[in-house]
């Protein structure tokens, strides 16, 4: 006993850390990643490795040489951004485009706002949307799913089932294939089954709560249900079709629940999820893009500070 430490209570800590939480999300992403590798093969591997490494590198370079502050790439957040970005990309995208996406995600969306915890918009989605607007052709051709596909840039392409809504295709895979993920799409978004396993893991580990994903999925289900069942000829997508295709599950479970950019209490989360669900359906059904989850989340990210300001948690002892 040399010197006693004096500090205010509490004198114990849960031992939880940022990297702990990040590792938990990585584990939750694992099933979807395996599904991505299975359906899209080599391309999925190249793109995910490129995205993770380039995100880490850009964060390191910016922290070390521009901000000249502490380097925190070991907390796992940059690697997570990289993996989530890769999940939102088609597996036949050239490497250089992936690197640009990573630079936008880390450099513009995250570090320019002050790094982890200060970014108003989800970095991976900013990266994705930047690429979608800049390289619309490359970003909207998806390879056909082939188990352990050895092809990368020359993979045979297939439309996403969501193109059905825009009248570009007429046939879609069976509901079982949609559920398992045997369809064209971005690397991490196709397998509903794998994403749901990840969701359950996140809930069990208490890394996220159910509010945001359930609110989004419920809203999409109800909204598309109303449209479809009042006018099935105009609105051909059934609610189940909407939930199983595109990026809605990936978005609801992993993108919209990003800690930094989502609301701080359950009530706010429900409202935020409602907004995302409504905007997604509006874009999908009435907009010109086949998919709207990314835009919907980014738009609601912008509302998060406002939601936090006006939607307060239930206070102890208050009547409602």
């Amino acid at each position: 006993m040399d010197k006693l430490i004096i500090s205010p209570s509490p004198h114990v800590h849960s031992g939880d850390t940022i990297s702990n939480k990040m590792i938990g999300v990585f584990i939750a992403l694992l099933p979807a990643y395996v599904a991505g590798l299975y359906f899209f093969g080599l391309g999925a591997l190249i793109i995910s490795v490129t995205a993770v490494l380039s995100c880490l590198l850009f964060e390191y370079l910016i922290q070390r040489f521009i901000l000249k502050g502490p380097v925190t790439i070991t907390d796992g957040s940059a690697a997570l951004t990289g993996l989530l970005l890769a999940f939102n990309l088609p597996s036949n995208l050239p490497v250089w485009i992936v690197i640009i996406g990573s630079l936008v995600a880390i450099g513009i969306a995250k570090m320019s706002f002050g790094g982890l915890g200060n970014n108003p918009f989800n970095p991976a989605l900013v990266g994705r949307v930047f690429l979608l607007i800049s390289f619309p052709a490359q970003m909207t051709t998806w390879p056909k799913p082939v188990p352990w596909n050895p092809a990368y840039l020359d993979a045979v392409t297939a439309a996403t089932p969501l193109a059905l809504l825009k009248g570009q295709i007429t046939e879609i895979p069976s509901a079982l294939n949609l559920f398992l993920g045997n369809m064209g799409g971005s690397i991490g978004e196709v397998s509903a089954l794998a994403l749901l396993i990840g969701f359950i893991y996140l809930l069990i580990r208490k890394i996220i709560t159910w509010h945001i994903p359930v609110s989004i999925l419920f809203t999409v289900f109800v909204f598309t249900g109303i449209l479809h069942y009042t006018n099935p000829e105009t609105y051909i997508g059934t609610p189940v079709f909407h939930l199983l295709t595109g990026g809605i599950l990936l978005g609801a479970i992993f993108m919209a629940t990003d800690y930094v950019t989502s609301p701080m209490n359950p009530r706010g989360m429900l409202l935020y999820g409602l907004g995302i669900g409504v905007i997604t359906v509006l874009i999908r059904v009435f907009g010109s893009y086949p998919e709207g989850v990314s835009f919907a989340i980014l738009i609601m990210n912008a509302f998060t500070p406002l939601i936090n300001k006006y939607i307060k948690p239930k206070r102890f002892g208050s009547p409602e």
């Binding site: 205010p8 114990v12 982890l116 800690y259 206070r315």
Partner: protein, 444 residues
């Protein structure tokens, strides 16, 4: 199993001293008996330097309504009356008594026989409790007689007895229930009579199964006392949380439990009430837990108020080698001490030795807005926001965000993955806002 509905955490329990029999702490050579209380007005000394004092003799007269009498815990000669540091780090007026022998006032019944019958009237009971200097022994040391006198127009329906002991490590209340269960229950019936209720509920967390079983068995021999096991969850010992857990009623912001018909008393307080009313023994000793992961002999000690902590600690085997922090009380709400010369006070529940490796806080990182602090807050506050406001001196905004509801339980700081000192800033804000509110009232 019942528990409170909002927030809360479950830290590792480390009840290392559970089941260890209460031992008498050795009498100190000199007792330093504080005349001040954490809350309220210090008592006025009624003895002078050189006086010869007996155990149980009144030495400090309550200095006002929210104040309590102080009695000597030792016999001997008053050496001096001057300020001494207490666990809060401030000097409080204290009576230094050089101990000679152990001579008790003859009016105190020292037999072990349990006396169940109480013939006093409610007013008589409250008078006796007031005279005996009883304060809440759960930690806040609020004078018990004040709690038993509801404001005009308010009537208690039920007495809630706190046997929760939700702080990790501490076992003094647990052990007291095991050894003095019947006396506690008699104390409970006396308290019920004092506030004119016919129902009392004793809440005990489910990590004390032996105490629950014993108290349930004993309670059958009393009228209107129910023992309820509670799911282990911190801060269940908080008054508002306990009332919520047991009655399912939430005390409104700024109000006391009496607002929802409840009066809450700790089990140790109930025992002190028993001794005061039935045995004519004022409050001058209490059970404290001496513990820590590296402690050779954990223990529960019956220590006289005013015994320097070092004296009890040495009896328990001395300070462990690897100690980096000494805490008076539990690890969640206790106070870090700079030394052990501080005396046992009425509110001292124990001494905890934390090894050096666990003592220092870890490097703070950016808030990642993970919402954990909001989720665990048992009062439904937003600690992340309050901390930012406190950093920026936004006192008015803090008041609007209900900083005065904060019970300083520390769940937010405990759970933060970025190791942010949330409670430090919340406390700063609460103290400042409290001052602002008082000034506002003073001006009116």
């Amino acid at each position: 199993m019942r528990t409170f509905k909002m927030g809360g955490i479950h830290p590792q329990e480390y009840k290392l001293s559970a089941g260890i029999k209460i031992q008498d702490a050795d009498l100190p050579r000199q007792a330093v008996i504080p005349l001040g209380h954490y809350l309220g007005i210090p008592s006025n000394a009624v003895i002078a330097k050189g006086d010869t004092i007996k155990v149980g003799q009144l030495i400090g007269q309550a200095g006002g309504h929210v104040s309590a009498n102080v009695h000597s815990s030792v016999s001997g000669i008053v050496n001096r009356i001057e300020g001494a540091f207490d666990a809060s780090g401030y000097k409080v007026p204290s009576v230094f008594i050089d101990v000679e022998g152990d001579e008790w006032l003859e009016s105190i019944d020292r037999t072990r026989e349990v006396k169940r019958e109480c013939t006093l009237t409610p007013a008589g009971i409250i008078k006796k409790i007031t005279e005996s200097g009883i304060v809440g022994l759960g930690g806040a040391t609020f004078p018990t007689h004040v709690k038993l006198t509801p404001p005009p127009g308010k009537k208690a329906e039920v007495l809630i007895v706190n046997g929760v002991e939700c702080e990790p490590y501490l076992t003094c209340d647990h052990q007291l229930m095991l050894e003095k269960g019947e006396e506690i229950l008699v104390g409970v019936t006396i308290l019920m009579k004092a506030i004119d209720v016919n129902r009392a509920v004793i809440g005990i967390e489910n990590n004390k199964k032996d105490a629950i079983a014993l108290m349930q068995r004993l309670a059958k021999t009393f009228e209107g006392i129910q023992v309820v096991p509670l799911q282990v969850q911190y801060p269940q010992g908080g008054e508002k949380q306990l009332v919520d857990a047991i009655l399912g009623r939430q005390v409104p912001s700024g109000a006391l439990p009496i607002e929802v018909g409840a009066v809450v008393q700790n089990v140790a307080t109930a025992f002190a009430v028993y001794e005061a009313v039935q045995k004519n023994k004022p409050l001058f000793e209490r059970v404290i837990t001496i513990t820590g992961k590296s402690m050779a002999h954990h223990g529960n000690y019956r220590a006289r108020i005013g015994t320097p902590l070092i004296s009890v600690v040495e009896q328990a085997g001395g300070i462990p080698e690897d100690t980096g922090k000494i805490v008076a009380g539990g690890p969640m709400m206790g106070r870090a001490l700079s030394n052990l010369d501080i005396a046992v006070a009425k509110g001292t529940s124990g001494v905890l030795f934390i090894p050096t490796v666990e003592s220092a806080r870890k490097q703070m990182q950016n808030c990642i807005r993970c919402t954990k602090c909001v989720v665990v807050c048992p009062m439904g506050l937003e600690p992340y926001l309050l901390m930012t406001q406190s950093e920026r001196s936004m006192w008015k905004e803090m008041e609007n965000e209900r900083i005065m509801d904060c019970i300083e339980c520390g769940c937010c700081s405990f759970t933060c993955p970025s190791n942010r000192p949330l409670l430090d800033y919340l406390r700063l804000g609460k103290t400042t806002v409290n001052k602002i509110i008082r000034n506002r009232h003073a001006r009116k």
